[in-house]
């Protein structure tokens, strides 16, 4: 047999090609459907939170304290302020540490140490957040009581590996020729890092930080142990008492038999979701800008 087909036959499907075409369509179709599903889930979550949370939203909702004994009216100002303070404090703790770790990894450490530290960062990143909460509880809450500070420490444990890995990736993108240039000018290593390497990677480090903030702002488990028994007033100091915060408040409200509380929980969920989506969008545009800047190099 020289040819398995008749070369002069019309070019329509023949043999097992029909079956193969069906299989091909099925495979393509399921891949498309899976991709659509992933987007749809996000869309449905956003839509349902927006639909149920939007009626609660008002200026009062953002600026007033909740009613003392449940019921209608009031707002979630203590939780917004509390989350802002806790996350800011966690950022203030984790960004210097994360950036220094990244500097150590890219500029100072030998290759073997780098592999070990990177593994440690990845493991830290994968730790269950409830365990991190337990850790902060044992370290700071037992004997001292809950505080916003303890919550911030717990969140910073989550943020450090995120910031460190993001900063490390960006520092690796800084061309070695810039370090050479600075080295050849008789400037000390640290000045080189602070004066040339860090500014070149600044955009990416900010991006990584914003993403870490967005992640930490939504964490609930670590805050249960550290800052969950709070009152209904706005507090500005992270020390001495637990700070109200959005994630824990949503959970607490959902546990109570108060329909107005459910309403507020949805509203708070929408506020949190909006913050996180906006932060992600900002981070993405910053990342694009800093990549463009590096691309010129």
């Amino acid at each position: 047999m020289s040819a398995a087909f008749d070369p002069t036959a019309p070019l329509t499907a023949s043999g097992n090609l029909r079956r193969r075409r069906v299989v091909n369509r099925l495979a393509e179709g399921s891949a498309n459907a899976a991709a659509l599903l992933a987007v749809a889930v996000l869309g449905i979550v956003i839509a349902s939170v927006a639909m149920r949370g939007a009626p609660a939203l008002s200026l009062d909702f953002l600026t007033r304290t909740p009613p003392q004994f449940g019921g209608p009216g009031g707002g979630i100002a203590p939780a917004i302020v509390g989350t802002a303070i806790i996350v800011l404090l966690a950022t203030a703790i984790s960004v210097p540490i994360g950036v220094l770790v990244a500097i150590y990894l890219t500029e100072l450490a030998g290759p073997r140490v780098v592999a070990a530290v990177r593994l440690a960062l990845d493991l830290l990143n994968g730790l269950p957040s409830i365990v991190i909460g337990l850790f902060a509880f044992g370290l700071l809450v037992i004997g001292h009581g809950q505080s916003g500070f303890a919550g911030a420490v717990a969140l910073s444990v989550i943020m450090v590996p995120l910031v460190a890995r993001a900063a490390q990736e960006m520092l690796l993108l800084v061309p070695g020729t810039l370090r050479d240039a600075a080295d050849a000018l008789g400037v000390s290593r640290w000045r080189t890092i602070v004066g040339v390497v860090l500014p070149s990677a600044l955009g990416g480090i900010v991006t990584g930080t914003v993403l870490a903030v967005a992640r930490a702002a939504g964490e609930t488990a670590p805050l249960f142990f550290t800052t969950s028994i709070f009152d209904n007033h706005v507090h500005w100091s992270p020390f001495g008492q637990a700070l109200s915060n959005i994630p824990v408040m949503i959970f607490t409200l959902s546990e109570q038999a108060d329909p107005y509380g459910y309403q507020r929980a949805w509203g708070a969920g929408l506020v949190l979701l909006t913050f996180i989506l906006v932060a992600n969008a900002v981070a993405r545009s910053l990342a694009a800008r800093s990549r463009a800047k590096m691309g010129v190099q």
């Binding site: 061309p175 020729t177 810039l178 050479d180 240039a181 600075a182 080295d183 050849a184 000018l185 008789g186 400037v187 000390s188 290593r189 000045r191 004066g195 040339v196 500014p199 070149s200 800047k293 010129v296 190099q297």
Partner: protein, 299 residues
């Protein structure tokens, strides 16, 4: 005087003596700067490399290099790819130190001090021995800050503006950038960026400038500007330039060192073949390998 038949060189005496009589230079400016150089300047050895060998891990890059480099003279290092030109240059200001597995044998004396001796601070070495790289590598900062950054960090804040202007004028860049000092250095052309890098290196007034193929990434016009610049720079600085462009070496250098690969056992190792006045290297080299290389027979 012997007429050796070379079109390029009329006189085979030392370059500083021959310079005023040379006719075959591309521009009158170059000729002028050559004649200006004070002849009574005493010969002073800046670098004294004694039996220098460099290896990276198991691989030996150069071996047995013995070479003296004189003050206020342009010394060119030429040779085929991979013969250790850049390695040798970078061991003159300890830029190789950060390469993993780097080891140096022999001695490099800088004004009599062992560059690799105990107590020598690399940062101080580079403060005195500046370097310009193959690819222009300005910082992603403004033109002004590129030049001002190192002086600021070294505590030379007094009359910083004047210092920046002097460095930019010295690098023949001032007129092109004086109206946009605050603009990003990344917006400059390749040739301008390389002159900015030279200004950056000279802003801290080093003793020596090492140039590692400074024009190989540039077009011919920018290259000509850099070469012309070197003739003015050598009045203030000792210059060592690595180039794989022989015409460039012939145009800018007073002395030329030819490196090539030598068989040493199973390895091919970079070695200094010959060092002499530039017109001797290009006109009547002693070594047949040099002759083959400069006449384009290999490499």
């Amino acid at each position: 005087m012997t007429i050796n038949g070379s079109e390029l060189w009329e006189d085979e005496r030392a370059p500083e003596v021959a310079a005023p009589r040379m006719r075959i230079r591309t521009s009158a400016d170059i000729l002028a700067t050559q004649t200006e150089r004070p002849r009574e300047l005493p010969r002073q050895t800046v670098f004294d490399a004694r039996d220098v060998s460099v290896s990276y891990g198991e691989k030996t890059a150069i071996a047995g290099v013995t070479l003296q480099i004189q003050r206020n003279v342009v010394t060119a290092i030429i040779g085929p790819s991979g013969c250790g030109k850049s390695t040798f240059l970078r061991s003159l200001n300890r830029m190789n130190d950060s390469v993993p597995g780097f080891r140096l044998g022999g001695q490099v004396l800088y004004h009599g001090h062992d560059l690799y001796g105990p107590g020598v601070d690399r940062v101080e070495v580079r403060r005195r021995i500046g370097m310009v790289f193959q690819k222009p590598n300005p910082f992603p900062k403004s033109i002004y800050d590129n030049v001002a950054w190192a002086p600021r960090n070294l505590g030379m804040r007094h009359e910083l503006d004047e210092r920046v202007e002097r460095a930019l004028r010295g690098a023949a860049l001032w007129d092109e950038v004086k109206d946009r000092l605050k603009a990003s250095a990344l917006g400059l052309s390749g040739g301008q960026q390389q002159r900015l890098c030279i200004a950056r290196a000279t802003a801290i007034e080093p003793d020596v400038l090492l140039l590692d193929e400074p024009a190989s990434a540039l077009d011919p016009i920018a290259t000509a500007a850099i070469e012309e610049l070197m003739h003015t720079l050598k009045r203030r600085y000792t210059i060592v330039i690595v180039t794989h462009n022989m015409q460039q070496a012939a145009r800018v250098a007073d002395r030329t060192a030819f490196f090539s690969l030598e068989e040493r056992g199973a390895e091919r190792v970079g070695a200094l073949i010959e060092e002499d006045a530039t017109q001797t290297i290009f006109g009547r080299p002693r070594d047949s390998r040099t002759r083959d290389y400069v006449s384009g027979r290999f490499g």
